[in-house]
Amino acid sequence: MLRFVARRLLLLGPILLGLSVLLFVWLRALPGGPASALLGERATPEAVARIEELYGLNEPWYVQYWKFLVNAVQLDFGNSSRTNRPVVEEMLRTFPATIELGTTALIFAIGIGIPLGYFAARRYGTWLDNLSVSGSLIGVAIPVFFLAYILKYVFAVRLGWLPTGGRQDPRMDAEHPTGFYVFDGIITGDLEAILDALVHLILPAVALGAIPLAIIVRIARASVLDVVHEDYVRTAEAKGLYERTITRRHVLRNALLPVATVIGLSAGLLLSGAVLTETVFAWPGVGFFVAEAIGNRDYAVLQGFILMIAFLYVLVNLAVDVSYGLIDPRVRVQCALPRSRRPPRLRRSARRAAASARTPGSGCAAIRWRSSASG
């Protein structure tokens, strides 16, 4: 397992490098530049030219890229052309906000999604099942901003139970050493700050987590349905085991693999959803900042942030892959064995058949398997 993790981490370097080149070229290929973004209606060709000259935007792209690379290795991603602050500073400011929100949303989606999917599958064909399926279909169809507005309107404006946005009450004075408000409240021992931060998290997390929730419900349900019809479950039932034991020992563990994959994929979803959610709830996070930076052609921010996001994305997926090992002992055992000791590779045809089926076959291929769990 350790070797596996180490190997993946080593791959990280080249991946990020390649990505950075692609990014750089793509950004420069986009029409327009930061100059007119900064000037608004006051942009004149002379002003734009002057700014481009000052910012070194006239140099050939490989020269700019080289300078960027040299600085990036020293963790200096340059400065934002809009705020004129170091990109690293903006990252330290915005990433904790989004990570806190995303994590909460994910906990919400998983905490409700898996049980709901499980029960929908176990009660296949009943009202609960149909409701869950329909709910998840609608959940995917509703535009995120629409859902966010409705939640806000009902709970914050009409009922006044929850705040309309932001991470904390403007009049509250709290310390934020790490930038994760709930955590900060815990370490400073400020109960009011903890509660305030939590209260501000509820609506955005629900809005953001709604789509992953819908997907997780569907996948969990489909996956549980698959497993429940397998022979070994029928055997277990015939043996007379309690349903709870069956569930814990057999169904859940086998059903969770596709769900784990989906959770990894959700990381990408959360990021795109984060942009809209952060905008609607005035959450000062990465999504909104990057969206702004695209409009402003803030190259430094875009390069640094997108690379960081890719880095985190790879880490999350690595964590998911590691979790395969935790959930499914077959994977753990086989991948940890040196190549010579592993069970003989199945004949090509059988392997391909396994690969094409919806669940992972045996072997380390399970870890490399990336497709969606159900068609």
Binding site: V133, A141, L271
Partner: protein, 270 residues
Amino acid sequence: MALIGFGLIAFFVLVAIFAPLIAPYGPTDRPGADVITPTNIPGPSAEYWFGLDELGHDEFSRVVFGARQSLLVGVVALLLGMAGGLLLGVLAGAFGGKVDGVIMRIVDVMLSIPGLLMAIAIAALLGRSLLSVMIAIAVINIPIFARLLRGQMLAQRESDYVLAATSLGVRRRSIILGHVLPNSMSPVIVQATLTLATAIIEAAGLSFLGLGSPDPRVPEWGLMLANTQRYLASAPHLAFFPGMAIVLAALGFTLLGERLREALDPKYRR
């Protein structure tokens, strides 16, 4: 449930085809020109079933005409995506080996990029037009069909009838085109209906983001939704009707697809 799905789809297709007959006004007519102010955008009434929009158009007419656009984009994008995906899938499944490996790597890369982001990038590169939206959505869906068909074909390759045909000396191309492919189609059909649903939503999403046709006079549900954020409190009908239309259309295809799959997949039969 399948009936509901089928009914919804039929309803939309009919509405799209007969739009000029169903809609009382043209999409650019402004029957409410004299009445509209930023704070007075009338909602549903007897005269205007879905109310008026912020420029005085009849919302019902615009939603009806919007069906054409949405379904057109969805269907064309689906067909393009299916064609590309099936081609790749057939090649991978038929030839196997290195060809398969290369194609599947490409497909994996395509799958690992979040769909919406890729669509945005493509649409941004190709410029704003209906065509670029269609192409973008098609491209997102190519890997899904490719992988699906390849899997099916691989499974089919090992089956007895293929073995029989090969031993009889039937040429490979005939086997594939005449036997394996048709037998692989049922999950593809299921996927097609589901993809049509998501294509409609994605098309709306891309228009919402401003990547679709630059002509705001042509009604498109996503575009109609885009302009309504500021009116959610004062004129919610502007967002409600196009939004519901998108959801119902997508729902219709999804329901149909789900039930089709459950009908065709033996595992689900109880």
